[in-house]
């Protein structure tokens, strides 16, 4: 029986859609299938950001606690989205908790593995960076809008 690699699944995710076969193979070498039941945490604030989660099914709430305000969800993401941008820059630490809102299936990329491959192959590193940059820019843009608090009352 032939064992199917993860290239097809990784390549089917929006993050790596259309990625070259050779690079896809390299990235998939760092990938594994993961599942989380509703309520389980994918990562916790302060832990090493040693994984990237490419969500395939389900929804994940990104949460943070603030003194006097309790815990707060500041973003939810669903299928074809990515959790984990902190793997790109030192000190590689999660800055929030990510909790499965319902049962979640995802591809986990070993961040240390992927960083190593990107360091050794700048062409791969550049292509991977180009895939992550739109997500980073979009998060920045959305965060800016949230900070503007556009629905807040103004007199």
């Amino acid at each position: 029986m032939a064992i199917e690699g993860l290239e097809r699944i990784v390549g089917a995710h929006a993050l790596f859609a259309g990625f070259g076969d050779e690079f896809l193979e390299l990235v998939s070498g760092c990938a594994s299938n993961v599942r989380f039941r509703a309520g389980e945490y994918l990562c916790r604030e302060g832990d090493p950001a040693d994984q990237i989660f490419m969500v395939r099914d389900g929804h994940v709430a990104q949460e943070i606690g603030a003194p006097g305000q309790g815990r707060m969800t500041f973003l939810t993401i669903g299928p074809n989205s990515v959790i984990g941008l902190a793997w790109l820059v030192p000190p590689y630490r999660w800055t929030y908790d990510a909790r499965a809102q319902d049962d979640v299936r995802a591809i986990s990329l070993d961040a240390t593995c992927l960083r190593g491959k990107c360091d050794r192959d700048p062409a791969l590193g550049y292509e991977v960076m180009k895939r992550f940059m739109p997500a980073i820019v979009k998060r920045l843009h959305d965060t800016r809008l949230q900070l503007l608090d556009v629905y807040g009352a103004r007199s």
Binding site: E63, F74, T76, D142, Q146, D149, V150, Y151, A153, S155
Partner: protein
């Protein structure tokens, strides 16, 4: 001998009639909905507004938020945010207030017949588009897909939650809501309202969009719709400015070459974009 005639409200749009609040509904903190009766009220078109006034305090434009198909039922939703709106929102059932209107143009729902319709509302902006939603659902067979995307600051500040739940239960309208942030326990979407666009399917070449909310939200919603392939001339939004006379005389609501009260408040993005992108206009 000359005779001094009392102003005829029907003939003079600057003269208010005396309306009365028949029902007061607390929607969320600082937001109330009034059902009102007014003499000679003959109904309105979705998108139009009235000038509501508290005697001795002032007058402000408020969109009509009830169904246009029930001309006897006049509904306004008001957020207490400034001196006049606070005075209005503080009125009790049975209280009298001044009313002029209806003014302004309407959401072009007739041009959306046979097309997909995407309604994007943010915060209190759900109130001005609610008449459109009533119209779409009352004439459901006239339209293809109907999608409502609604964003609010927090779950506790979402308007018309009972109706949102009822609409979500229907099979002929897709409803997605999001909040900017939420306490733990909220199982819905968190993120900006434009992020909901990625999760819904519509044919951009045959889509009309009706957008209402804070101006910056509408700007980014329009851009997201254009990025999705919707024609700028098919993206309609309701503008808000400092309207006083409501009939295009005083110029307070002038935005470049247009008066929001007289030429709007509904404009398409193709016309609005150059005006909205100009600072201090």
């Amino acid at each position: 001998m000359s005779t001094v005639l009392a102003p005829n409200p029907q003939a003079d749009p600057m003269v208010p009639v005396l309306a009365r609040i028949t029902r007061r509904i607390e929607e969320v903190p600082d937001v109330v909905t009034f059902e009102m009766e007014a003499p000679d009220w003959n109904g309105f078109a979705p998108g139009q507004f009235n000038m509501l006034g508290v005697f001795g305090v002032g007058e402000i434009p408020i969109s009509i938020s009830g169904p246009a198909s029930e001309p006897d039922r006049l509904v306004h939703t008001i957020r207490a945010v400034g001196p006049v709106s606070r005075a209005l929102a503080g009125l009790a059932e049975g209280a009298a207030l001044g009313l002029r209107g209806p003014f302004g143009n309407e959401w072009p729902v007739e041009t959306a017949r046979g097309r997909d319709v995407v309604v994007i509302a943010g915060g209190l902006g759900l109130a001005p588009v609610r008449p459109v939603l009533y119209h779409l659902l009352e004439n459901r067979n006239d339209f293809n897909k109907v999608i409502l995307l609604y964003g609010a600051r927090r779950p506790e500040e979402m308007l018309f939650t009972g109706e949102l739940s009822a609409w979500r239960a229907r099979f002929d309208i897709e409803v997605a809501v999001t909040v900017d942030h939420a306490a733990i326990g909220w199982h819905g979407h968190v993120g900006v309202v434009t992020s909901l666009l990625r999760n819904v399917g519509f044919d951009p070449a045959s889509t009309s969009a009706f957008v209402c909310g804070p101006e910056i939200m509408m700007r980014f919603a329009a851009r997201a719709l254009v990025d999705a392939g919707v024609a700028p001339g098919e993206i309609w939004m309701s503008m808000e400015r400092n309207m006083h006379c409501a009939i295009g005389l005083c110029g307070h609501c002038q935005l470049g070459p247009v008066f929001i009260c007289r030429d709007g408040p509904i404009f398409d993005w193709a016309r609005l974009k150059p005006l909205m992108m100009q600072e201090e206009l």
